[in-house]
Symmetry: C2
């Protein structure tokens, strides 16, 4: 039984009818569900098949997402979810223009991530972590953290990437400060270049995730 | 002497003043210009330095861009210009929802490309080609054409890429038809996968260009 947004999406947006089969995803599993009854308030159905999703990257990828003006955050969440990100951790840094996330914005992010995971036919919806300050970020990102930094000239993302779980940090519109970079390095993070051209935050986030998931996919070729 | 949009941008948007130095780019060259006089109608200055831009990819990259609904085309042009694309060729294919480009939309695309090239500190503004039908596309894309296709499972973009000029084709919202793929192959194009997850056109375009320019940058590491 699905209610709320998802019933609305099935009944009103997708206009599905009883008898049609939909795919629901959770924790890397896919369930095929034949719909029995559909209304904008509630959709009922029964599971007719289950499978482990084969569309998940072989390693976990966390994106540390700076708070951005306008709806750039939403564009990034949609794109990186399609590309295969595992977790998104929003953060506020020294030069960030936006410093808080409303409950309604967080709900919208969650909905965008769920819908993008379904569009992408992924078996897992990325989690969206709590808003974090710069120093707290390195408590939650894990052991292998790459920080995209425009002043890094020697090491590219591709060179720093290894075949393991990883977190990528992208800076906000005003960039990261030297102090923030120094702190990240003390916490074991490695700064990487996304190339010699200056990228806006949203382009940097999508480009970085695209490079990492392409590299992960290449590790484990699969026949579909 | 700069007039029109560019004078407006200098005087009103960026609020630059006489004495400030700006960088203008053309055909892979950068000119540093000290402003002498600034008004919303006209900005005057003189060249105080010239250099070959070192921020251009080593090979030319063309993106064949499907016409998309809303402002997705503009988002793509902004992002792929920052990432380093050389030429953008809009096309209308069998399943395209949008089939024409107004003169004002084309002007907006040109302006977005120019501004994104300046943001990225690129030495070259990508050209935007004439709107083309599917068959005409293969007359203008050059010898090495890769078509991103969701039904391609064997060959990834990374595997098909060689260190040479290349054109990437991404499908419209409804996908490419089997007939279109067959025609592309007869014209020598190679179909490639962008991974097992289903991507929207705008994510596919940005992800593909990010992968190609990262590969080109890796060919020619440079110290800045």
């Amino acid at each position: 039984v699905l209610r709320g947004d998802r019933a609305h999406q099935i009944a009103t947006v997708l206009r599905l009818r009883p008898g049609e089969v939909i795919t629901l995803v959770r924790d890397g599993d896919e369930a095929s569900v034949r719909l029995d009854a559909v209304s904008p308030a509630e959709a009922r159905g029964r599971v007719v098949g289950r499978a482990r999703s084969r569309n998940e990257p072989v390693h976990a990828l966390t994106l540390a997402l700076p708070l951005l003006k306008g709806d750039h955050g939403e564009q990034i969440i949609e794109a990186v979810t399609q590309l295969g990100v595992t977790r998104i951790v929003p953060f506020a840094s020294a030069r960030a223009v936006v410093r808080t996330v409303s409950a309604s914005k967080r709900d919208r992010w969650q909905r965008i991530a769920r819908e993008a995971a379904e569009t992408a036919r992924r078996g897992r919806v990325p989690t969206i972590g709590a808003l974090t300050e710069w120093d707290g970020l390195f408590d939650v990102l894990g052991d292998r953290v790459l920080v995209a930094w425009e002043a890094e000239a020697a090491v590219s993302l591709g060179q720093a990437l290894v075949r393991d779980d990883v977190a990528i940090v992208v800076g906000p519109e005003g960039g990261l400060t030297e102090d923030e970079i120094a702190y990240a390095r003390r916490r074991g993070a490695v700064t990487v270049s996304l190339g010699p051209r200056n990228l806006r935050s949203e382009t940097a986030a999508i480009a970085a995730v695209a490079q990492v998931t392409a590299a992960f996919d290449a590790v484990a070729p699969r026949v579909r």
